[in-house]
């Protein structure tokens, strides 16, 4: 009889198919379009080495004579380069694909870092309360009072000045992830702390304490899973924010080097040529960046509405 009841239980996939989550996704056109656009960019970025007609990181494939060729659809276009070439003669399509890959990777890794720091600190502050809470939250306030960009500019500029541009170029991805990750953790810490404060007075936490479980087990195994939906929501928005931060830093010359461009450094490198008529070097990666960030924000909004209909619909 037991095995029968077990067999009757829907699998995780079946439960997902019947869930409110999927239903609200299906009935929301904005969500479907945003998700397909995001999926398109994500897959294109993931499989960039397979899709891209050229390897923009390989100097042997770049010919300076090909520089500043307009997109293929315009009169001066060359059909070898669908979206034209940049000032160094790199194929724009390939460079954008690789650039999206770099931008997305920095965005996601920076958010993972923010989430890790923020969750650990937020859980500790919310669960232990009292003095621990006061100290951690004051640190978060201090961190929040410096804008991300300012911290990033100071740190990256100092690093570049101290260790030279060459070493910086090698470590750029790592440094950007670290700086953006560390600068934005209070967002997570505050959200997690607020949810923990609401959860920790519920009786299931008391029940876990009566069982003798250690604080760490209660925090991670019992409370954290109940705070996941707000974390999920801010994550989507934070990835978009991190991508923008990275693009702004690259635009200011403190981000990815020209040899391994992200979307931001592409926009920046094309900016010098925009008045000489080569608009595509800046505009096309700009459009990609705007689209990417827009769909992620739209997805984040939708997720927030679905996961917390009471709080936000109003």
């Amino acid at each position: 009889m037991n095995t029968q009841t077990l067999e009757q239980r829907p699998t995780a996939w079946e439960r997902f198919k019947a869930s409110h989550f999927l239903h609200s996704f299906r009935t929301d056109k904005v969500a479907i379009i945003s998700f397909s656009v995001f999926l398109f960019f994500a897959l294109a970025a993931l499989f960039a080495p397979l899709i891209a007609p050229y390897d923009p990181y390989d100097p042997a494939m770049i010919d300076i004579m090909d520089s500043e060729i307009a997109p293929a659809w315009s009169e001066e276009g060359d059909e070898r380069f669908a979206l034209g070439t940049d000032a160094q003669g790199r194929d724009m399509l390939s460079t954008i694909l690789y650039g999206t890959r770099v931008s997305l990777m920095i965005g996601i890794c920076a958010v993972l870092m923010q989430a890790f720091l923020g969750v650990v600190i937020g859980l500790a502050a919310g669960y232990f309360g009292g003095r621990v809470d006061s100290i951690l939250m004051r640190i978060a306030d201090v961190q929040l009072s410096f804008s991300t960009m300012m911290v990033a500019i100071v740190v990256l500029a100092l690093f570049q000045a101290a260790f030279g541009a060459e070493l910086y170029a090698k470590l750029a991805i790592f440094m950007l992830i670290m700086v953006i990750g560390i600068a934005e953790w209070p967002q997570y810490a505050r959200t997690v702390r607020a949810s923990v404060l609401a959860e920790k007075h519920k009786e299931y936490v008391d029940a876990a304490r009566v069982m003798g479980f250690k604080s760490r087990r209660i925090m991670w195994r019992h409370i954290l899973p109940n705070t996941l939906s707000p974390i999920l929501v801010i994550s989507t928005v934070q990835v978009a924010n991190a991508i923008i931060s990275e693009a702004s830093l690259s635009f200011l010359g403190l981000g990815m080097p020209v040899s391994e461009p992200s979307l931001g450094s592409l926009i920046s490198s094309g900016f010098a040529y925009i008045f000489s008529g080569s608009w595509w070097i800046t505009v096309i990666p700009g459009v990609v960046l705007v689209l990417l960030v827009l769909v992620m924000n739209l997805l984040g909004d939708w997720l927030r509405d679905v996961l917390n209909p009471k709080l936000y619909k109003g």
Binding site: R9, D206, A207, A208, R209, V210, G212, H222, N226
Partner: protein, 338 residues
Amino acid sequence: MSTQESLLQVRDLRKRFNISGDFLDQLQFKGGKIVRHQEHVHAINGVNFDVSKGEALCVVGESGCGKSTVARTVMGLLKPSAGSISYKGERIDHLSDTALLPYRKKMQMIFQNPYASLNPRMTITQTLEEPVRFHNPSMSGAEVRERVKEVMYSVGIDPGWGVRYPHEFSGGQRQRISIARALTVEPEFIVADEPISALDVSIQAQVLNLMMQTQEERDLTYLFITHDLSVVEHFGTRVAVMYLGTVCELAATKTLFAEPKHPYTQALLSAIPRLEDNRPNHIKLQGEVPTPVNLPTGCVFHGRCPYANDRCRQEIPALIAQSDGSQVACHGIEEGRL
């Protein structure tokens, strides 16, 4: 005093909560000086009782009289401000979490709200297996599952339901699962904090019977917190009546219902509605329960007691054993004027 072996001893237990906020909130300007002013809620004020092995000690009293605080302090969820709690002769109130671990297996708790006491993100099997694995690290997976299955059967939950989440169950079923969770570690003493007050009346009886049945099968001892006197009559071996953080009468259930001694107990029992209600008028108490922030001097009940005299207003009465085995905290009884 009961002649049986005493399992839990509570001596002069006190718990107060600071309600004056943080340091800056406590500063007050009084008569040209800045004074630090602190206020406390005196939730428990010197509670004494023993729980004997195998009995069900019911604690009754109106809302806010400190019943739940007693339960939570006994279980170590709150640290007492003063007094001692001993389990089988060993003091447990000041132990660290690690030192308390062996007692967690012996003492368990059932909570009031079955809708909040189960983790919504864990399946029933996860909820029930975690404590077993935690307290018996040497058990194999099959043994753990066997233990959980046995407990689920014994509380009337089909083990096949284990893959479900708490929100898929009704209140009564959830309370059965909560009971099952407490039973998984094979405790000998269970504190039940109003376990049936959040349930439908029709379900209350089922859960109550389940608790009595498990008491028999597993030789359990209960500390049962409730405000429902009919439950006490049905369930309790002995009863402790609480008023404003103190125990005013402690007696065997039959003795208490047949012959209540403390004026508060008398008033409380006269308030039970009966079908054959031809008794003289209910005892009507004047006024309201005083605030636990500023406790009255002397007996906490003196403001509403028709028999109070000067001694009652000044001196706090102690629980004094009577000839029929009950204990009453009342100067009037002690002096023989009631």
